[in-house]
């Protein structure tokens, strides 16, 4: 699974150094074969059809779209959890898609993915602090005691009371679990966080808390966010830029305010009207920044 | 139809694999079996030489297997050294007897399991459910061997039942009706023993599958429409619970054959079990392979039958294979 196959278009010899983008995705394509239940072979699914995005350092890009539009695949390909069929992913001036596994490892701590569905992303047999400390254990950083204290510190930063440290995941609420996976993603001190559906499945009030937490963390740690979601309201509160995905490609992109106020594509218009009921103005996010 | 062929092909593959392994294992120490047999004064040297030619005992192993396979497909499974007869002539009556015993036991065990299991599932925590739970737990915990010996003791002590064998000594001279009576008298205790061993397993699965089906949302919905209890049981719950039960039905063939082996030995029922035992003690090679293969054939046929039932019962499987 970790064999590096990194096709790329050699003719595109862009001079990368000038841009301030922390993350740049170029012509990312991903096709995979969905295995059939009985028998061999299966249908070919094209998940990404040439996606181009870039995020400047310290900014937040929200990628929204319906289920099946390829958002989660994009997230996984960006973080190199899955090999792309085509295209490049550049991070801080380095092409990740070309790196061999060993060198990729050192980049792992700089980009972290927060998976969709916090409860599924946590081993139910691990204690809370062990969940957060696991990346340190995998990368063998520090002694056991150091790892534990680093984990506890991260838990504190995401607002989890320390008495939860020894608890098991099933004893935590949905909102606490979401904070836990964010803490886990932070423990390696990343620069870029990719968050896949961080608000889905949470109460509205908890969603607001998580949104505030993410904003605070971004300020404190100068984080860059790639937010994936299918609900506009929360995402719009955080995003500087919004990209709308449909059928594996980006159909509209722009600054958050303009996309929400004057959506050009039909699909975006649907999303906005569903989210905000008509051509209502974007809820003022200035105050929460 | 394709489904059946696919399953039958799988079964055939398994049989071939078993026959190859069996053949190999029995020839691992090539000198051992046949040298012992040659030393046996009861076997005429002429027989041994004829066999060597027929089965190509001097040829290479794959060639030997090929010869054996060809004869086996014609129904000729080799030669029994202990009985001095072809294996097939020995085995077919035994298969018949084992089948008789097992079919009766299978039907009885499943009937009891279905009826009692359904009743218990329909009246959970009722007296029938709790009593059955205790009884079946007790039955599970007592080994088959003990049931067999205990019942044998009852037979000998009370003289109500024959203490073994399949037919009485003068059976052939009597009328058909009294022959049937005699046969069923001999059949009763062995069947009872097998049922005692297998029934608790079947019962537990029937009860739990039905209870699960009865608790599922769509059955609750049916109840909400006011459907009667029996209707719910038979039209809704059973078909839903049928899949795992049909699979269990397929598995029960193997279970029953194992149980019946022991019962046949203890009750001197002339089936495949005692034949296997004798042939092992006598190092009667071809009989051993023949019996083992036949037992696998019986299990595979049983599984095929269960697969047919599955196909007939579950529209999802039909859809997939069309």
């Amino acid at each position: 699974m970790w064999r590096r196959s990194a096709p790329c278009d050699a003719s595109r010899n862009w001079d990368y150094g000038m841009s301030e983008s922390l993350l740049e995705v170029r012509e990312l394509r991903k096709t995979y074969v969905k295995p059939r239940m009985f028998g061999t072979g299966g249908a070919e699914v094209v998940a990404l059809r040439g996606v181009n995005v870039s995020i400047a350092r310290g900014h937040t890009l929200a990628v929204v779209g319906e289920s099946g539009s390829g958002k989660s695949t994009l997230a996984r390909c960006v973080v190199q959890l899955e090999p792309a069929t085509w295209g490049q992913v550049w991070f801080a001036g380095v092409e990740l898609t070309r790196l061999p596994w060993r060198q990729l490892r050192s980049f792992r701590s700089r980009i972290q993915l927060v998976l969709q569905g916090a409860s599924a992303a946590i081993n139910p047999a691990f204690r809370s602090w062990e969940v957060v400390a696991e990346p340190l254990q995998i990368l063998k950083r520090g002694t056991g005691a150091e790892q534990k204290s680093a984990a506890l510190e991260c838990m504190r930063q995401v607002g989890l009371p320390l008495d939860l440290a020894e608890r098991l995941p099933h004893q935590l609420s949905g909102g606490q679990l979401q904070r836990l996976v964010i803490a886990r993603a932070l423990v390696l001190q990343p620069e870029l966080l990719v968050l896949d559906e961080p608000f889905t499945g949470l109460d509205v009030s908890i969603q607001a808390q998580i949104a505030n937490l993410l904003l605070a963390l971004q300020r404190e740690r100068s984080l860059t966010y790639l937010l994936i979601g299918h609900g506009l309201p929360m995402v719009s509160a955080l995003a500087d830029e919004i990209a709308v995905m449909q059928g594996g490609r980006i159909v509209e992109r722009g600054a958050a305010g303009s996309v929400l106020a004057t959506p050009r594509q039909g699909y975006t218009q649907c999303l906005v009207s569903v989210a905000f009921g008509g051509a209502a103005a974007r809820p003022s996010a200035e105050g929460s920044r | 139809m394709r489904f059946l062929l696919h399953r039958a092909a799988q079964g055939a593959f398994v049989l071939i694999a078993i026959s190859i392994v069996g053949f190999l294992l029995l020839h691992i120490a090539p000198g051992e079996f046949f040298s012992e047999i040659r030393l046996n004064p009861q076997i005429a040297p002429a027989t041994v030489d004829a066999l060597r030619v027929q089965y190509g005992l001097d040829r290479s192993l794959p060639a030997q297997y090929g010869l054996w396979l060809r004869s086996a497909l014609r129904g000729d499974f080799g030669f029994s050294f202990a009985y001095n007869r072809p294996v097939s002539s020995l085995l077919w009556p035994r298969v018949r007897n084992t089948l008789l015993l097992n079919t009766v036991a299978l039907t009885a065990a499943w009937l009891f399991a279905l009826v009692l299991g359904a009743w218990a599932a329909a009246h959970p925590k009722g007296w029938a459910d709790r009593l059955s739970a205790v009884l079946t737990s007790t039955m599970l915990v007592v080994p088959d061997l003990m049931f067999a010996l205990a019942l044998l003791m009852v037979a000998v002590r009370t003289r109500r039942f024959p203490a073994g064998g399949m037919l009485g000594l003068e059976a052939a001279e009597h009328s058909l009706w009294s022959q049937a009576q005699d046969f069923s008298e001999h059949l009763f205790l062995p069947v009872l023993t097998i049922v005692l061993g297998v029934f608790p397993i079947l019962y537990r699965h029937v009860r739990s599958s039905l209870a699960e089906a009865l608790a599922s949302p769509f059955v609750q919905a049916a109840r909400g429409y006011g459907l009667g209890r029996n209707q719910i049981l038979f039209r809704q719950a059973f078909p839903a619970a049928a899949n795992p039960l049909i699979s269990l039905f397929g598995l029960s063939f193997g279970l029953l054959l194992s149980a019946s082996l022991l019962v046949e030995v203890v009750f001197s029922w002339p089936g495949l079990g005692p034949m296997l035992l004798e042939s092992i003690l006598a190092r009667d090679v071809y009989v051993i392979v023949g019996v083992v293969l036949l037992s696998a054939v019986l299990v595979i046929i049983g599984n095929l039958f269960a697969d047919v039932l599955l196909y007939w019962n579950d529209p999802r499987i039909r859809a997939e294979w069309q």
Binding site: - | V14, A259, L277, N303
Partner: protein, 342 residues
């Protein structure tokens, strides 16, 4: 793991039984092979506290069995009482194969014999043979189960984790094993091995055979668990942190097989004990004069013994509490595994 009474009681019983059986030489008054030809088929010795005059004795005693002309018809000889003494010296036995000793927990003086469970056709004490037989039957079950579970865990985890050709090969092989009724398979495998009667190699061979018969079910179960465990998101997340496959196996996947392995153990061990008993009963297990619960019961195939000497069947019924204990353990583990399954 919270321990409930449903687990502690059977476990204590089984531990106690295994310990007693291990020190069978000490606990039993005689060895497994000691014959008293003058007392064939003696009924269990009646232990008395009151003598012929009605006086109570604190120390129990027995009378010697005497027989008349008729074979195996016994009457108590009330003329002489033999008190049961404790910590007596008797036949020598070897302790764990290391050294020999001859202290026994209890016994009676010659010429009386203490047959707590009666004697068999050769005048051998059934109680002693039962405990010595337990060494064979119980530990055959344990060791064979260990073999089966190890094989199943190894092969099932490998197949489930790597998938592909290995997985397909494993599934085909388990199908082949599943096509044969287990007792037929057991006997067939036994048939392949020499019927020679050296006890130690025979014992090991039997364990190997029984263990091989039953590896397929644990393997399939482990494979199922590994297949689903490796798809979980937390495994994906750990991969995202750069975890190696070995780490994932060790920390996330294999621990989930614990429940299944434990439950299978409690199911397989009694089945394997029964397999050994059946093999010995049929004459294909350990041979005389070694005792196994199976060959103690095989004498009962003769109707005369079955009806006249009821104590010969008692060893078989002593199997029931053992199976009951394992059954209770299995049920508790099953419900635990179900409730905590992820």
């Amino acid at each position: 793991m919270r321990v409930s009474r449903a687990i502690v009681l059977p476990l204590m019983f089984l531990l106690f039984l295994h310990l007693i059986v291990l020190v069978a030489g000490f606990v039993t008054p005689y060895n497994a092979a000691t014959q008293f030809r003058e007392d064939p088929f003696a009924p269990p010795s009646r232990v008395h506290f009151f003598d012929v005059n009605g006086r109570f004795h604190l120390r129990p005693f027995v009378y010697d069995w005497t027989s008349g002309v008729e074979f195996a018809k016994y009457v108590e000889d009330r003329n002489r009482a033999f008190p049961i003494r404790f910590f007596v010296t008797g036949n020598a036995y070897s302790v764990a194969g290391l050294f020999r000793w001859n202290l026994h927990l209890f016994g009676v003086d010659e010429p009386a014999h203490l047959f707590l469970l009666g004697s068999d056709g050769y005048g051998r004490d059934q109680f002693s043979r039962f405990l010595f037989g337990g060494q064979i039957s119980l530990f055959a079950g344990l060791l064979a189960a260990f073999l089966s579970l190890s094989l199943g865990l190894l092969l099932g985890a490998a197949a489930g984790y790597h998938g592909g050709a290995l997985d397909a090969a494993l599934m085909r092989t388990t199908e082949i094993f599943a096509a044969l009724p287990w007792l037929y398979l057991l006997l067939a495998l036994r048939a392949v091995l020499p019927l020679g009667f050296d006890p130690a190699p025979t014992f090991l061979l039997i364990i190997a055979v029984i263990g091989i018969v039953g590896w397929s079910r644990p393997a399939r179960l482990v494979r199922g668990i590994v297949l689903s465990a490796k798809e979980h998101n937390y495994v994906l997340a750990a991969r995202g942190f750069g975890a190696t496959e070995l780490y994932l196996l060790r920390r996330h996947v294999l621990p989930q097989t614990r429940g299944v392995v434990l439950t299978q153990a409690t199911i397989l061990i009694p089945q394997y004990i029964l397999a050994e008993v059946t093999l010995s009963f049929l004459g294909l297990g350990v041979a005389e004069p070694m005792a196994s619960w199976g060959n103690m019961l095989s004498a009962l195939q003769q109707y005369s013994i079955l009806t006249s000497y009821w104590w010969m069947i008692v060893p078989g019924f002593l199997l029931v509490p053992i199976f009951l204990s394992y059954y209770i353990l299995a049920r508790s583990f099953e419900s635990r595994v179900e409730s905590s399954s992820y």
